[in-house]
């Protein structure tokens, strides 16, 4: 079967679509924006007009797992995700200098 494929970054997700993709309620995604796990280009716009890309889906899924697996609240999850991102940046930097 030939499926219609789109890369998320070319056709971003709406709030409702992102919530569905991670098995959550819309208000949970709004909370992710409030605690800055997700960043939207137009935070002043109503949530129905927000758009999300691949990196947002990845972070939302990771937050969902932290919440479920470790009982982390979303502020703690935000900190862990930032530290993980920092760790990956540092490892990439080491790799770029042949030290990875």
């Amino acid at each position: 079967m030939r499926a219609v494929t789109t890369v998320l970054d070319a056709a971003p997700l709406t709030l409702r679509e992102l919530a569905r993709a991670v098995g959550a309620e819309d208000r949970w995604v709004v909370r992710l924006v409030e605690v800055e796990i997700l960043h939207v280009d137009t935070p002043a716009e109503p949530p129905e007009r927000w758009h999300f890309r691949s990196a947002d889906l990845q972070r939302a899924l990771a937050a969902r797992r932290l919440e479920r697996d470790f009982g982390a609240n979303l502020d703690t999850a935000a900190l862990i995700l930032d530290l993980q991102a920092e760790l990956r940046r540092a490892r990439a930097l080491l790799g770029a200098h042949g030290l990875g």
């Binding site: 079967m1 030939r2 499926a3 219609v4 494929t5 789109t6 890369v7 998320l8 970054d9 070319a10 056709a11 569905r20 993709a21 991670v22 098995g23 959550a24 691949s54 990196a55 889906l57 990845q58 899924l61 969902r64 797992r65 919440e67 479920r68 697996d69 470790f70 009982g71 993980q84 760790l87 990956r88 990439a92 790799g95 770029a96 200098h97 042949g98």
Partner: protein, 322 residues
């Protein structure tokens, strides 16, 4: 099919409390977390542990699993082989997705899990007898492609085990094949969305979507970072010291001429603009210089090294105070 002992996967006793299970899971989840684990089979262990937790932390699923385990213990084949749960093994149980569970994880679970709980971890039936309407859940999977596929785009066939609802409204697992178009310039960590290829809907509602996370297989020559590619470029000491024009193969299969600046050092990074992954904002190709020494394997080569040492006396350990 192997019968999975979820209790031993978490290292807990059969009568473990919910709290014991939660603690055991958290300990193992930290041990096998991909960002910190040094274990070679961390991914596989994490999947196993997730699957065990999914079943044992859900009262209904755990009770059904215990009943099945008892049944297998009583009448299982001598080699411990497990084919399918017996008919009616799950009577009286109804599985629900917990409030904090996401749809992403069941996709990774074992054939054993799928044979018992289906991909969504439940029977799909609801109590009360009233027909219900619900859009199908979104489904997640990963697809690993080569760097060449990412550069040029490709068509790939993907085999998936998915759930369908039969005429009686019960879920069953079917194997299906999807042709997936990989667009050129796709990057690791990006998601490809396949509309309507997720789990089926109920009561005439549409199916969910399938999200494929793109992974790019390690390449012997290039390392990928976002849009950019990194490659080690060996140069001779002469090229590094005096500068040179060298020919470098490009990821897309062509060649470019690159100027090595005079006095270049090992570790120096040269950028070839827009020779990384294609896209609206194309990435760059970065060359990391490595000084490669000509072998001193002939009288002439040895003499040339000695001549160089006399002509350009140099102590590379000066900064060490040596």
């Amino acid at each position: 099919m192997e019968f999975k002992d979820y209790y031993s996967a978490l290292g807990v006793a059969r009568d473990a409390s919910d709290d014991d299970i939660r603690k055991a899971y958290r300990k193992l989840a930290r041990k096998y977390h991909p960002d910190v684990s040094k274990e070679a089979d961390a991914d596989a262990k994490m999947r196993e542990v997730n699957e065990a937790r999914d079943v044992l932390s859900d009262k209904e699923k755990r009770a059904a699993y215990d009943q099945l385990a008892d049944h297998v213990a009583r009448g299982g084949s001598p080699d411990g082989g497990f084919r399918q749960p017996p008919p009616g093994w799950d009577e009286g149980f109804e599985f629900h997705r917990g409030p904090a569970q996401g749809p992403a994880d069941h996709a990774d679970f074992s054939e054993f899990f799928s044979s018992i709980f289906g991909n969504r971890g439940g029977t799909g039936q609801r109590g009360g007898g009233a027909p219900y309407r619900e859009r199908g859940e979104d489904h997640h999977a990963a697809i690993e492609i080569s760097l060449e596929d990412a550069l040029h785009g490709a068509e790939r066939q993907l085999s998936l085990r998915a759930q369908e609802i039969d005429a009686q409204g019960r879920p069953r697992l079917v194997d299906r094949t999807l042709d997936v178009k990989i667009p050129a310039g796709v990057r690791p960590g990006q998601y490809i969305r396949l509309a309507g290829q997720g789990l089926p809907g109920h009561g005439g509602e549409p199916a969910g979507d399938l999200y494929l996370e793109v992974r790019i297989a390690p390449h012997p020559r290039y390392r990928i970072e976002g849009h950019d590619l990194y490659m080690a470029l060996p140069v001779t000491p002469t090229e590094a010291a005096l500068g040179a024009q060298v020919t470098v193969p490009t990821p897309a299969g062509g060649q470019v001429h690159v100027t090595i600046p005079k006095g270049a050092r090992g570790g120096m990074k040269l950028r070839i603009k827009e020779y990384g992954l294609p896209g609206k904002t194309p990435g760059h190709l970065y060359l990391l210089l490595e000084i490669a020494l000509p072998p001193a394997d002939s009288d002439a080569a040895r003499a040339a090294y000695e001549q160089l040492a006399k002509a350009a006396p140099f102590n590379p350990r000066l900064h060490l105070g040596a």
